[in-house]
């Protein structure tokens, strides 16, 4: 599998570390919404097909990436840097 880093260009999978599901939204640190926390920590879709994932280019520029990957074919349709502004969080 080859991931095309927006900075470094196409690189071998061996240079990247998987950092998990990028579809989750973390509750605000002050949130007491246990259902939301439970969903954030434990619930995963495990889709057969398109999936948004965090990866880190540990063996290159060391930036975190959001990769859209097809879990059935490993075809990668999109790679981007995560937004630099933190998304608005609920329950803060």
């Amino acid at each position: 599998m080859i991931i095309t880093c927006p900075h470094c260009g196409p690189r071998d999978l061996a240079e990247f570390s998987y950092k998990g599901d990028a579809t989750r939204t973390r509750p605000g640190t002050a949130s007491g919404d246990l259902a939301h926390w439970n969903a954030y920590v434990y619930e995963r879709e495990n889709p057969a097909g398109q999936h948004r994932e965090f990866w880190q280019h540990t063996g290159g520029c060391r930036k975190h990436l959001i990769v859209t990957r097809d879990t059935l074919t490993h075809a990668i349709s999109h790679v981007e840097f995560p937004p630099t502004k933190a998304p608005r969080r609920s329950g803060a």
Binding site: G60, C61, T84
Partner: protein, 208 residues
């Protein structure tokens, strides 16, 4: 206001600097030499001051200007762009991060002064070893070690990048027609140097 002073180590004193490659770089010609001479030339670049400049979120442009003021070279905004001269090498190896290596003993202190609060400067002079591979077969040898396109058209002179060989992190800059500088952690230098020698045997190599 938080004190965000950069880290500047004691300058490298060329007369006292010890190479971690000591005992492994006996000059001579080795491997499968042909009548055309060595396929590659291996050298360690010594006495360098090496600094890493990292910008904050919105200060990339300011850091570029600060580096230019010290290094005297223009910096392009394109990812991986850089300049290689005899006395100074600069390249961008990650978004907002540059490696600057040169022969001036106070290079890193100058960078820290120039960058000021617009970024951070880390002195790597004592932590990195720079190995130069030159010669007609340099791309052939490097292609055995790294999954990188070293072709003349894909990897322009001055350009640099970060990659790794197994778990050995390496920064690579093209510094000449066939010449590449490889920056590795000092503690991995002996291992990497031996690997480079072994990989160069089939084309014949010379150590100067």
């Amino acid at each position: 206001m938080a004190d965000r002073r950069s880290f500047v180590a004691d300058p490298v004193i060329a007369a006292h600097a010890a190479s971690p490659l000591q005992g492994l770089k006996r000059p001579g010609e080795f491997g499968a030499l042909t009548d055309d001479g060595p396929g590659v030339f291996l050298t360690e670049r010594t006495g360098l001051s090496i600094g890493e400049v990292a910008s904050w979120k919105d200060s990339e442009g300011k850091c570029r200007v600060a580096i230019r003021a010290v290094a005297g070279v223009m910096l392009n905004v394109a990812p991986g762009s850089g300049t290689a001269k005899l006395e100074i090498n600069v390249f961008n190896f990650a978004p907002g991060r540059w490696l600057v290596a040169g022969t001036k003993p106070d290079l890193v202190a100058q960078l820290a002064g120039s960058v000021g609060e617009d970024g951070s400067v880390t002195d790597l002079s004592h932590g990195r070893v720079v190995i130069r591979i030159d010669g007609p077969k340099s791309r052939w040898v490097l292609s055995k070690l790294f999954a990188i396109n070293f072709a003349n058209t894909a990897f322009a002179r001055g350009q640099g990048l970060a990659t790794m060989h197994h778990d050995i992190t390496a920064l690579v800059q093209r510094v000449g027609e066939d010449a590449f500088d490889i920056h590795v952690f000092r503690s991995f230098a002996r291992s990497f140097w031996s690997l480079l020698r072994r990989s160069s045997e089939e084309v014949g190599y010379r150590i100067d």
